[in-house]
């Protein structure tokens, strides 16, 4: 197995600056059997319990000023995404414009966190976002299936980074994970991590294919140990994508990782979050499971496309006291 990732400094955000994990964690990834023992030694997840907790937290009632704050925070956390075979430079350009100024008629609206595209469209996105704070995220490593040889995946990553991607969303090899080849998954993440250079790495677990919460917890720790800056629920191509209970388990993982190492890593919930109400439920989970330190775009993201317009409509309704129709926000 490859050695644990070396310390590098990311300029983007000090809270997620990569430090080498403490020595005892580096020991955990020394060889495959040690890693396996560690992952199997993590406390189990009771499915009924985590689902009940997620449902109970979802009843929080967020009103008035706290709702406005949540809407603006959610907008700042959006990775505005287009991942279609039919994507074109024109589509990506309009998306970039939307990302900079989500609601052109309301100058107070913050810009989103990043635009997320396929590697071949990174250059277009970079051009469209030049001079703004908005990041460019690129999926890579044979997204969404991850079924390619490692050199192909690394070339995919290098391509995206060379074109200017500031964030890379990789997929793990679920086949390897489900067949217990944890060392292979770990080595792939560390290799991708090295290929990222300065770019932030988000590790997509594709929880819909991992199926059990125990697997989600193990995959989360595996990705964190291998140096992922973020752990991300889904590609959006598999159903179920992000769910509240799965996000709870991942938030517990970053919380526990912080307790053990002092480092804060992020979580990205992607796929299936379409409206403000759902987004606020995720923010409540971030707030009460991981802690309020995680309520920032450098530690929590939404991977979404249609969510943004609903946030904008709700924002207007909160400010103006009445709802306006979908024709009053831009369709991009």
């Amino acid at each position: 197995m490859a050695a644990a990732p070396q310390a590098t400094t990311s300029g983007a955000d000090p809270t997620t600056a990569r430090a080498a994990p403490p020595a005892d964690l580096a020991d955990l990834t020394r060889d495959e059997s040690t890693l396996r023992r560690f992952l199997y030694g993590l406390p189990g997840v009771d499915a009924v319990g985590v689902e009940a907790r997620a449902a109970s937290l979802a009843t929080r009632s967020i009103k008035k000023a706290s709702k406005l704050w949540a809407i603006d925070t959610a907008i700042r956390m959006v990775d505005l995404t287009t991942l279609e075979g039919a994507d074109t430079p024109g589509k990506v350009r309009t998306l970039a414009a939307k990302a900079r100024r989500p609601d052109p008629e309301r100058p107070g609206v913050p810009s989103v966190a990043a635009v997320c595209v396929y590697p071949d469209l990174v250059a277009t996105a970079v051009a469209g976002l030049a001079g703004s704070e908005v990041g460019v995220a690129s999926v890579a490593t044979a997204f969404p299936s991850g079924r390619a040889a490692l050199p192909v995946k690394l070339a995919d990553v290098a391509d995206a980074v060379a074109a200017g991607a500031t964030e890379v969303d990789m997929v793990i090899d679920r086949g390897a994970f489900l067949s217990g080849r944890y060392g292979l998954v770990f080595d792939e993440i560390t290799a991708v991590r090295a290929a990222c250079g300065e770019a932030h790495l988000k590790v997509i677990l594709e929880t819909g294919e991992l199926a059990t919460y125990d697997n989600v917890r193990r995959a989360s720790w595996l990705a964190l140990l291998a140096g992922g800056d973020f752990i991300k629920t889904s590609t959006g191509k598999i159903s179920p994508a992000a769910t509240l209970p799965v996000t709870h388990v991942m938030l517990q993982a970053v919380r526990d990782f912080h307790a053990r190492t002092g480092q804060r890593r992020g979580v990205k919930a992607a796929g299936g979050i379409r409206n403000t109400k759902e987004a606020i439920r995720y923010l409540v989970a971030v707030h009460e499971v991981a802690g309020e330190e995680w309520l920032t775009p450098s530690l929590f993201r939404f991977g979404a496309s249609s969510l943004l317009n609903d946030l904008l409509m709700q924002r207007r309704a909160q400010h103006e006291g009445h709802y306006s129709g979908p024709d009053y926000v831009t369709v991009d």
């Binding site: 997840v45 929080r60 009632s61 967020i62 009103k63 000023a65 706290s66 009460e288």
Partner: protein, 477 residues
């Protein structure tokens, strides 16, 4: 980054349709009681909510006589399928007026609206639905071909789940063909009197259900009344003991559901995050005013530090405050008297050398509130490990082996409930076999369902409520 304060999201108290005065319910009518009226207080603000008329001894006489007549002339003779129609109707009407009942319950009791809305009221309705289904199937309940009702049931209920306890008592009694005289708790009479209104609107024959508010003396008169055939009491062990001794030799049937000091046992292979949820739900649900609360945490010594750290973090997120706020997790202590008792026991914990941790949450300036508290390094000999606190106070003890866990869990005069947290199924069964407790929860806690019998061992009482087993208490078997 500023911190995210949730704006207040209070349920409107108008929904409760609070009236300045409430009267007792006898013979299908709301009548003025001849006892000294009582004032019921909102424990979150210490303001008087309403004046409630109470029963005197002669009112108890009248209520028992009208219940007797209704039982012999109407309800006891009515076919089960007909009784079921009434009970189904009550169940539906409780659900329909759920929001009103939930707000009223939170006002009168102090419990958070989240719990009265999501637990108390739906479960109360579910109890009527469940027992309505039994009314025409008693022949098949396993108590012989034609089981007969007992007659008039005198029932006394506590203040921790006012409407839910009324439902636990009334629904099975009615399903089995008995009539009822029920005394709600002195501090929480309001929802039982709205239930009386529902019963009236459901056209239940007059006298089948009678509700007499009042203090302990009314309860004592009721249970000792010669016209009562069956007594059901939920409340403190002390009162339960005195009822049992005064009823000895009278031939009345008795069920008691009393106090508890339940152990929540966490093994080292438990799903820790969910165990923490279960511990929180076990002791901070309903401010710990739960007879089956998991008030003793028994945790494997090898994971105690890790578990306590997570537990403290989780408990710190509990929001204590206005019971009507939809985001409140822990509401008000029901009365000043109860708050004084909690303080006294917590002081005893301090004095006996347990290590106290109190949630740093802000508390409202007015009203009866107590911050969630966790005592570590508790030993079996301390009062906080032996006496029922009935408040948001958890005592943490450790164990080394499963045998020690069993010994410590059972080392109490009570025996109402227990919780077992482990991923190992065989250990759950092994432990459940050895727990001297009426209810044993595995990887969950404080789950209530009308189909599951509930009741205790030893000083936690006897008899079961709920399920097929619970019917036995209201049938002549």
């Amino acid at each position: 980054m500023t911190s995210w304060e949730y704006a207040p999201a209070p349920e409107s108290r108008e929904i409760a349709r609070l009236r300045p005065s409430y009267r007792m319910f006898v013979g299908g009518e709301f009548v003025e009681g001849t006892g000294e009226p009582l004032k019921t207080v909102n424990p979150a603000t210490e303001e008087v909510l309403a004046e409630v008329s109470t029963a005197s001894a002669s009112d108890v006489d009248k209520a028992v006589a009208t219940a007797r007549k209704a039982q012999e002339k109407v309800w006891g003779r009515m076919p089960g399928a007909e009784r079921a129609k009434y009970i189904f109707r009550i169940a539906r009407m409780i659900a329909e007026r759920g929001r009103e009942l939930a707000v009223l319950e939170s006002l009168d009791n102090g419990k958070p609206i989240r719990e009265s809305r999501d637990v108390d009221i739906p479960t109360a309705s579910a109890h009527f639905f469940y027992h309505a289904g039994w009314a025409d199937k008693l022949d098949y309940a396993g108590y012989g071909p034609d089981p007969q009702p007992l007659g008039v049931a005198g029932q006394v209920i506590p203040w921790n789940f006012p409407l839910l306890m009324a439902s636990w008592k009334i629904a099975p009694a009615l399903a089995c063909g008995n009539t009822v005289v029920l005394k709600p708790a002195e501090t929480t009479p309001l929802t039982a009197l709205v239930l009386a209104e529902i019963i009236q609107q459901a056209d239940l024959p007059p006298g089948v259900v009678n509700i007499l508010p009042g203090a302990g003396d009314v309860g004592s008169t009721l249970v000792n009344h010669p016209g009562v055939d069956k007594v059901a009491f939920t409340g403190s062990t002390e009162v339960g003991k005195s009822i049992q001794s005064s009823l000895a030799g009278t031939g009345k049937k008795l069920t008691l559901e009393l106090g508890g000091k339940a152990a929540n046992i966490v093994f080292d292979d438990a799903p820790l995050d969910q165990a923490v949820e279960g511990i929180v739900n076990g002791i901070f649900f309903n401010q710990g005013h739960v007879c089956c609360a998991g008030s003793r945490l028994l945790v494997s010594e090898s994971i105690a530090d890790e578990l306590l750290a997570t537990l403290h973090q989780r408990v710190s997120t509990l929001r204590v405050g206005d019971p009507l706020d939809k985001n409140t997790d822990v509401g008000a202590i029901n009365s000043g008297m109860q708050l004084a008792k909690i303080r006294e026991l917590v002081a005893a914990g301090d004095a006996e050398g347990a290590e106290r941790w109190t949630s740093p949450c802000p508390l409202p300036e007015r009203g009866f509130f107590f911050a969630p508290t966790v005592f570590a390094n508790v030993s079996q000999s301390m009062r906080i490990a032996r006496e029922e606190i009935f408040g948001p106070v958890l005592s943490v003890l450790t164990f080394r082996t499963p045998d020690e866990a069993v010994a410590k869990a059972n080392n109490t005069p009570y025996g109402l409930s227990a919780g077992i947290w482990t991923e190992k199924g065989s250990r759950i069964l092994w432990m459940a076999d050895r727990m001297r407790a009426g209810v044993v929860w595995a990887n969950t806690f404080n789950r209530f369902d009308p189909t599951a019998p509930f009741g205790g061992y030893q000083e936690s009482g006897f008899g079961r409520e709920g399920g097929r087993t619970g019917l036995e208490a209201y049938l002549n078997v």
